[in-house]
């Protein structure tokens, strides 16, 4: 790693904490951002010649704090003459600072994810202030022109100030709902990187890594929150499959067809460790359940050798926590796979067919191709080729994803040939 790359890495890692300390001190987002930019310019010049200090975060905070004071002085015209160069920061000065360098990132996260900001603004602001991603990078990640993203960030910062959005950890009665919102933003950042097939690969990878980093920071700052750890585990476990999720042409590869030898074992291990910590807190929630499902897939040597019975039970729990058609379809498939017998398959198929009888789900089912794809796969396994072919056809008529279409097409041809 070159010195410049190393410095860049430090900037990224320290950005959120330094900015949070500055906002805490000055109560002003814009001033804090400007002062930090000044300090980063200083750091680039100084560190390349005299080396990286022992505690770069404290160094940046000290210098940024001075730059902020300079900027404040400059705006009060009487003291314009005081605007002169500072002496270099001494070793003692930043060591002293380190002791009083509080971690205010939690406050900053809650401010950035305040529900009175539009969701897209929450996401951009979180990436910018806590992740240290620059405006062009965020613009590219969300496929919007750079000026649009710059405007979105400036508006959000202005609203924080103008509307009096507080900079603090919410009081206990507000905490659960605000924490949910914060977790949702982090998961959204992750999914933007993980699930989207648009945008270039380096940016998507960066979003996943950034979401995991933020999740890790949050888990460290809120050690008693089981769902925070659940989300971190879920992201690590999903991310362990990132390399095998798309083929060389950028097409989606189904879980059952992925090359499991290429899954990231270190990430799987880390995810399972975090999940165990979460479960030990004894406060179950949907992120933990989803992480547990993901862990069972990660540990299975093959799709067939997966612990489908356990997965079916977990989907059962998840369906009670957050009922949705997606969960119901997955639950039925797990039930069908769990038995490994024609009876099991028929039971799963029955569960799927029942969804068509309930008015609520029946309406959603008509436009949801994974439902027909799941029916078709179970019918195929039951060797009801004609019915399976019809279901594949129905799924194909609803599916817009190229890789999924290729899979459905292949199965349809098989069914018609037999």
């Amino acid at each position: 790693m070159t010195a410049a790359q190393q410095i860049e890495k430090i900037f990224r890692a320290e950005h959120g904490r330094v900015l949070a300390a500055l906002i805490s001190r000055f109560g002003d987002f814009d001033l804090a951002e400007d002062a930090l930019q000044d300090a980063l310019v200083n750091a680039l010049e100084s560190w390349e010649t005299s080396g990286i200090p022992d505690n770069p975060g404290a160094w940046l905070t000290t210098v940024a704090r001075r730059r902020a004071l300079d900027r404040l002085r400059r705006t009060t015209s009487l003291e314009r003459s005081l605007d002169k160069l500072d002496p270099p920061v001494s070793q003692e000065e930043y060591e002293m600072d380190d002791a009083q360098f509080p971690d205010d990132r939690l406050k900053l996260m809650f401010t950035c994810c305040h529900p009175s900001l539009a969701l897209e603004a929450q996401v951009a602001l979180t990436l910018h202030t806590l992740g240290g991603l620059r405006t062009p990078e965020i613009a590219r990640a969300f496929l919007v022109p750079e000026p649009t993203m710059a405007q979105r960030l400036a508006r959000a910062r202005a609203k924080i100030r103008n509307a009096g959005i507080p900079y603090r950890v919410p009081p206990i009665d507000l905490l659960p709902e605000r924490l949910d919102a914060l977790l949702a933003v982090i998961y959204l950042i992750f999914n933007e990187g993980y699930a989207s097939t648009s945008g270039d690969e380096p940016i998507r990878k960066e979003l996943c890594e950034e979401a995991i980093r933020l999740g890790g920071v949050l888990a460290a700052l809120m050690p008693e929150s089981a769902e925070t750890r659940g989300l971190l585990a879920l992201m690590l476990l999903h991310d362990s499959r990132r390399k095998t999720r798309l083929d060389e042409d950028g097409q989606l590869v189904l879980l059952s067809e992925q090359d499991r030898s290429r899954w990231d074992r270190a990430k799987i291990k880390a995810g399972i460790e975090v999940l165990d910590e979460a479960l030990a807190l004894n406060a179950p929630g949907p992120y933990q359940v989803q992480a547990a499902i993901s862990a069972l897939h990660a540990e299975a040597p093959s799709a067939e050798a997966t612990d489908w019975r356990q997965i079916a039970a977990l989907y059962d729990t998840l369906a009670k926590m957050m009922p949705s058609l997606v969960v119901e379809v997955n639950r039925a498939v797990a039930v069908a796979m769990a038995g490994g017998t024609p009876e099991g398959l028929r039971a799963g198929l029955q569960m799927l067919l029942r969804l068509q009888d309930q008015p609520d789900s029946a309406r959603q089912v008509t436009g949801y191709y994974p439902y027909y794809a799941a029916c078709a796969d179970l019918l195929r396994r039951l060797e009801q080729h004609e019915a399976a072919a019809q279901a594949y056809q129905r799924a194909l008529s609803l599916c817009g994803n190229k890789a999924e279409r290729a899979y459905l097409q292949r199965r349809l041809v098989e069914m018609l040939a037999s």
């Binding site: 305040h114 508006r155 202005a158 100030r161 509307a163 959005i165 507000l174």
Partner: protein
Amino acid sequence: MKYLLLMYADEAIISNYSKEEFLAASKTWSDFVQDVTDAGVLISNSGLAPVANATTIRIRDGKTLITDGPFAETHEQLGGYILVECKDLDEAIRWAEKVPTAQYGSLEIRPLWFQGLSNW
């Protein structure tokens, strides 16, 4: 900070109240006003006469145009305001949640203009 809580609701809801419903609503209102006064948060408040009594004016090319009714016909009408002094937006949201109108209409929370407001 000073926040104006603007109350929007379908006027028909209140005008269709039975006598009992009206009395119950009046009680809810006076309880709320008492709370917000006791907390030292209230600066001023008032309901507005129904939009049928509204007049809109605009000056174009130096001429005043006067029209009947509100600026735009909408589902919910501005029915009143409450001006409060709060520490931050979260405190303003808490008071807005207590306004009876929030149960059937909506509350818009607007900070008053102040010197040094950020542009945008």
